[in-house]
């Protein structure tokens, strides 16, 4: 294979770094808004998904499957281009991005929460019932904290994916990191330097969260009923790496 010689010009990165940071700010802003909204909305959707009332359960299931089984890009385009045709209201790119990403993440988050809710032993819920806690109090104090704790790795993983998936909003002209990087790259003809920098910026944010996720997973394994530490994510990913078990 022939390697083409290439003269790197990192000045284009330094001179445009403030613009990239601005784009990163928009990316983080969208990510945080979507995470908060999804966390709030996922709880009722998960509860609806477990409802004894068929119609309620079907509505929740239909919503979840619709957003899990269609590409996020299509969902983004649909909200940005198709919804205004239906409603007659033009939705700005940023709002469209938040709506589509929230709807998408809520569907996945609701399934994670449902799985966590169902993993709480029935006896623990019945114990709450016997102590005359109301249905909401049982959900609020017994089920949600345990479901969140148990599903934390999944939820964090979904959030990391969301952070990366926000790059898609560049396709509907939202000035996020990806949009800004593309713009600078097309202006400067220095795609390699700019896109590499953009990738590094995504990595710098996502990697610590990934490490935290790994640590949480390790702690959860160490706190298992057997009390024995299982293999953690890092040591599975990096053969030979020995990670000290949490005290």
């Amino acid at each position: 294979m022939m390697v083409k010689s290439y003269d790197f010009d990192w000045n284009v990165v330094t001179s445009n770094f403030p613009r990239l940071l601005e784009g990163l700010g928009v990316t983080i802003q969208i990510t945080l808004i979507v995470i908060v909204l999804s966390m709030i909305l996922a709880v009722p959707v998960a509860l609806m998904r477990m409802s004894n009332i068929d119609i309620v359960r079907w509505v929740a299931q239909g919503y979840i499957e619709l957003f899990r089984c269609t590409p996020l890009l299509v969902q983004l385009f649909w909200v940005y281009y198709a919804l205004p045709t239906l409603t007659g209201i033009t939705i700005p790119g940023f709002i469209s991005a938040v709506i589509a990403l929230t709807a998408n993440l809520t569907a996945f988050m609701a399934e994670a929460l449902r799985s966590g809710f169902q993993a709480v032993p029935v006896e623990q819920i019945e114990a709450g019932k016997m102590l005359r806690l109301s249905s909401w109090q049982r959900v609020r104090y017994i089920i949600i904290p345990q479901a969140l704790r148990q599903q934390l790795p999944v939820i964090l993983s979904l959030n990391i994916s969301l952070f990366k998936d926000t790059a898609l909003v560049s396709t509907i002209a939202v000035a996020d990191l990806m949009f800004t990087a593309n713009k600078i790259a097309s202006e400067s003809y220095r795609a390699l330097e700019i896109l590499t920098t953009a990738a590094l910026m995504y990595f710098v944010i996502a990697f610590p969260v990934s490490l935290i996720l790994s640590r949480i997973e390790r702690n959860m394994m160490n706190q298992g009923p057997s009390g024995t530490a299982g293999p953690n994510l890092l040591s599975r990913m990096v053969p030979g790496l020995k990670v000290k078990a949490a005290a």
Binding site: P121, E123, Q124, E126, A127, G128, K129, M130, L131, R132, L133, S134, Q137, Y141, I142, P145, Q146, R149, Q223
Partner: protein, 272 residues
Amino acid sequence: MSQLTNTGSRRRVEPASSTITASHGEILVSARGLQKSFNDRMILKNVDFDMLAGDITVIIGKSGSGKSTLLRALAGLTDPDAGRIVFDGKVVFEDEERTDDWRDVESHVGMVFQTYTLWPHMDVLANLTLAPRKRLGLSAAEAKERAEVALAEVGMSQHLRSRPSQLSGGERQRVAIARALMMRPKLLLCDEITSALDPPVAAEVLEVLRRLKQEEGIAVALVTHDMAFASKAADRVVFFHEGEIAVNATPDEAFNRSTNPELKKFVDAVRF
């Protein structure tokens, strides 16, 4: 009926202990004609059952014979298909549904389960004080005070701040009993609470129940396979066989004089 009291600026609902009128030796719970089926299989077949206030009733029988279903029906966790339940003279279940009176007396019924049902994300204090704070309106200080008393009653005072994962099986069950005591029940239902414990630890837990009966006058309905405890501490022994109460007698009558062949077979199987 619950009672509202005023403590400074905070109104709180006291447990309705004053409404329980049955005193020791009087009928606290009476069930008539209880029936319950699951998947076309009849688990309870016209069960009649009485419990006296302050008594320990040990319920024995093979798995699937209806013991736990009876406890769950008394606890309000399962509604029978037919029958009537009277608690302290009030009809609490009739015509396939709980009556309004059930709301008044339900806080007098506590239950401890076979598996450890302490909430693992809370320490012992939080496990004990959640319901009194949220349901009875007790302040944090009042609930803590009550928790200290309840833990002392089960010999677990030193574990106020422990996590359930830091406790042994026997300790967890004792804390579970203390948690049930926080609502000041008059009837404590215990569903095979010692089945996962070693015999000496199980004996300690059962001793707690015996003390509660003697010192607090709490009626205890206990499903267990511990025949030694049944013969030593029970006031009544109820033997379930295929959804029916086959024997309801004093421990002496049940274990030494009963001619019921199924009971004999069961006791021999459990003992050896």
